[in-house]
Symmetry: C2
Subunit: 320 residues, 2 copies
């Protein structure tokens, strides 16, 4: 939950004057998105989302994210659409931060994941990958091997404060992934952060995807195993093979995986586990007293990593 | 900013089925109200506020708060109106908490206070007091002398950790207020927490008041000095006499103060300062690592207390 920056009355009024979206009736900080400040802005034309991009987002990346949403929405993918101001620009400045208004996506993210949610997610993720195939821009994934290496370097010395043996597990895993990481898989635009709070449903129907601020160019199958991790484990840590099968089969029904992708799934899933283990561990080790963000448990992903290390093939994920 | 409880999908669906307010399109936790969990619920009929009452609110007090909003709204005071379910009841249970849906009040709370805001507040506060005159229910103010005494008892031993000399200042002030606290002033329903984030404006016009969960029966003039403290000091701690005069004169133009109230204003203002000093100090001393609520500065109110201790009469507040 996050509202880091509060625009002043004058700043907000001047900012909204740049748009033709009616008069503001209300603007409330919302508890969504941990990286940026988000407001639900209600105008005489209806609800919108106002986002102020905070320091974790590189302003140079914002055109990529906003263009991507525009590209995907244009192809029928359910996602918010950046709203252009009267000058035709979607990106401007508010309270000293880069800021944009995006359309309001109806629906709610599921608090309790069902097999049906996973099935709908698989279909939507594949549709996203297909729709992104001709997106012309490229953004390197800063949270792939290079990023893990530097995160690991800044974490391992203190990692055992989180769990005994964690430093060694990270060092071993990173060394193995450096050897085993595939480089010849189909690549394209991936969401890279499709956790349940970024997927909206209404009456069991998936209405769209939000929060494209980790989107980048990487192996498409890697996006799929990020979802596998985020959606197919139970709160007690157990892998739910039924959910995994629903997710995977719905995905391949729209975009089949080739043999190299199928073979790479377990190592990709280990990478996806290490990625969230490391960012969560970094946040956990550097948590600040009084900060307004709940620090997520790194060990949830240490356990997922151990699970994937004993997986032999994609059959265990439901693709036999 | 506060979302302590997240209802599950099923709980929310079953809860909303008890109302005739259309189908839910969205439900987002909002960063408003530090005591309860608040959600902006958008249905096919428009926006509403869903509140789950957390542990700081005594469930036995909820009918008082909800009836009061209904009473005030019925008299034309701008405030949210509790929405009754199909069974005619406004108060029910969600995710194990007492919960209610209230109407959505348009407007935004002012981030930067102007003299005009203070003037509009004075008028609205007096109108609230007048409209509450025939409200039939009584709720004792648990945060008056008795409450301060027990808060002080639990804080003084560690108070000097916040500021050297604070324990002695609290003890002295409490003893003096025990002697000087007036008991013959006009009494009625007071809001008791009318800080800027509880007062909404649109285009400089006050649209209404929210968050009645500290409302109680107490001296009306005490409510006025709570506002004086919350609205008429600058961020650097300076008392703004122009804002005070605007607030005070707008108030008395609607509800004149009698001589006893005028004479009591400085001591009431000291009490209002001690009240927020003590609750903030308690929260500061008992703050929890990783909690999602920003702890407010107790010393802001220690400074206001010192200011009011040297005020001679109501003339210094603008009522000469």
């Amino acid at each position: 939950m996050a509202v880091y920056t509060e625009p002043s009355d004058d700043e907000l009024r001047d900012f909204l004057a740049e748009y033709a979206i009616g008069d503001a009736l209300s603007c409330k900080g919302i508890a969504e998105g941990v990286e940026n400040s988000n407001f639900l802005l209600v105008t005489t034309q209806g609800p919108f989302i106002l986002t102020l991009y905070e320091k974790r987002v590189d302003p140079a990346d914002l055109p990529f994210f906003l263009d991507l949403m525009q590209h995907l929405a244009g192809k029928g993918v359910g996602c918010p659409l950046p709203v252009n101001g009267k000058d035709g620009r979607a990106l401007r400045t508010l309270a000293g931060r880069p800021a944009a208004i995006i359309t309001f996506l109806t629906g709610m993210w599921p608090r309790k994941i069902t097999v049906e949610h996973c099935r709908a997610l698989g279909t939507a993720l594949a549709a996203l990958h297909v729709a992104g195939a001709d997106f012309p821009h490229v953004r390197r994934n800063s949270l792939s091997l290079d990023g893990w290496r530097s995160l690991a370097a800044s974490c391992v010395a203190r990692a055992d404060a989180c769990e005994a043996g964690l430093a060694a597990a990270i060092t071993t895993e990173l060394a193995e992934l450096e050897q085993a990481w595939p480089s010849e898989l189909p690549v394209g635009v991936i969401h890279a952060d499709l956790f349940p709070d970024n997927v909206f449903f209404q009456d069991a129907k998936l209405t769209g995807l939000i929060d494209f601020y980790f989107a980048c160019t990487d192996a498409l199958a890697y996006d799929l195993v990020i979802c596998l991790n985020a959606w197919c484990f139970e709160p007690d840590g157990a892998f739910n093979a039924t959910k995994a099968r629903a997710l995977m089969r719905a995905y391949v029904a729209v975009r089949p995986l080739n043999q190299a992708e199928l073979a790479a799934l377990p190592v990709l899933a280990r990478g996806a586990s290490l990625r969230f283990l490391l960012t969560r561990l970094y946040d956990w080790l550097n948590r600040v007293d009084g900060a307004l963000v709940r620090v997520k448990d790194p060990l949830e992903y240490a356990r997922k990593l151990r699970f994937h290390r004993q997986v032999r093939d994609a059959g265990e994920y439901g693709l036999d």
